[in-house]
Symmetry: C2
Subunit: 182 residues, 2 copies
Amino acid sequence: MQNTPLSRESLLPPLAAHVLEHGLGGASLRPLAKAAGTSDRMLIYHFGNKETLISDLLEYIAGIYSAGLDAGMGTERAATRQEVLAKILAQGREPMMQPFMILWWEIVAGSARGLPGYKEAAGEMMERQLAWLETQMPVDDPDPMGGARYLLTLIEGTLMLGAVGHARTAREGLLASDLSGD
Amino acid sequence: MQNTPLSRESLLPPLAAHVLEHGLGGASLRPLAKAAGTSDRMLIYHFGNKETLISDLLEYIAGIYSAGLDAGMGTERAATRQEVLAKILAQGREPMMQPFMILWWEIVAGSARGLPGYKEAAGEMMERQLAWLETQMPVDDPDPMGGARYLLTLIEGTLMLGAVGHARTAREGLLASDLSGD
DNA sequence: AGCGATATGTAGCAGGTGCTACAAGGATAA
DNA sequence: TTATCCTTGTAGCACCTGCTACATATCGCT
């Protein structure tokens, strides 16, 4: 036995990578351990049980998502709500974000079903996205707080429709909104 | 061995009931079979394998969802888009719809991950909801088709935020939309 | 040097997983 | 009656599941 001892902190990054690639639902200890270069035995030792592991992992993933949001975009503001929306939807379509988007719906599902740790992680991510959205609102927006919430609702609806193959429906819907530049 | 032989059709209702209660993710053959009063052996016999079973089950669930939509609401039209939205969101909050709402996010997650059968079921449900929504649009709406798509996007975003404990965020967002009666 | 706490490897347990082999019941057709 | 097919029950297989018992190595402390 050698080198730096494992710890929750050192284990979480490879675990998160594995979950981002393969999902949460089918995640079981032995594949997770293999991805982290350890054994299931050690995962249980460091996290206590699987439930805690998943909770900690979700919290960690929420953290890197938030950090990615903060770092991901410059400070130039959009001029209209419509531009903000377009910018964010374009960002969500980036290939780099894809594993995240896919995982996101699993987190929502777990949250809806009340699985431990899921709602906290999902709520945190929403909060961060909302906060970030507020900073992106046009400077002359009459109601930046409310507008950010409105856009968030539209964004999530659009993403959901995209996830089930109805991206076009959402696109056509946005054209019929007050955002379409009428 | 006795009475009416089993068939896919006779098996699907109890299977759907079980899945609506316990979810799709952890659904395994033996509990499913028990819920249907049979053995895993017979489920495989009638459906071939688990994947086909789940696909057929999703299709069936999409069907009963559609039927529920058709039967669920009267024909009196709302006068404004806002009223349509409020009516639908109220319907979604009904306790009877809760198992459906919870299952829905699992279907979305499976659809996003590309699991077989999920996208078809999710797409079908969206299509039905959209069609139904179009019939509910105000008679004097300038763009019923686009408006229905716009409302669908808002609805799904609102439901998602609700699923992760941010119902309030969505509510405040809707107040900042053009629907708020300004 | 000795001791206790921490960290890890090896083996294994009881139970669950999808699925299959085999046999047999019952209905139907010849 | 006999043959055939459809349907079902009983056992079981190989594998995976989370988790644990036990032994052992390593490190800091006294």
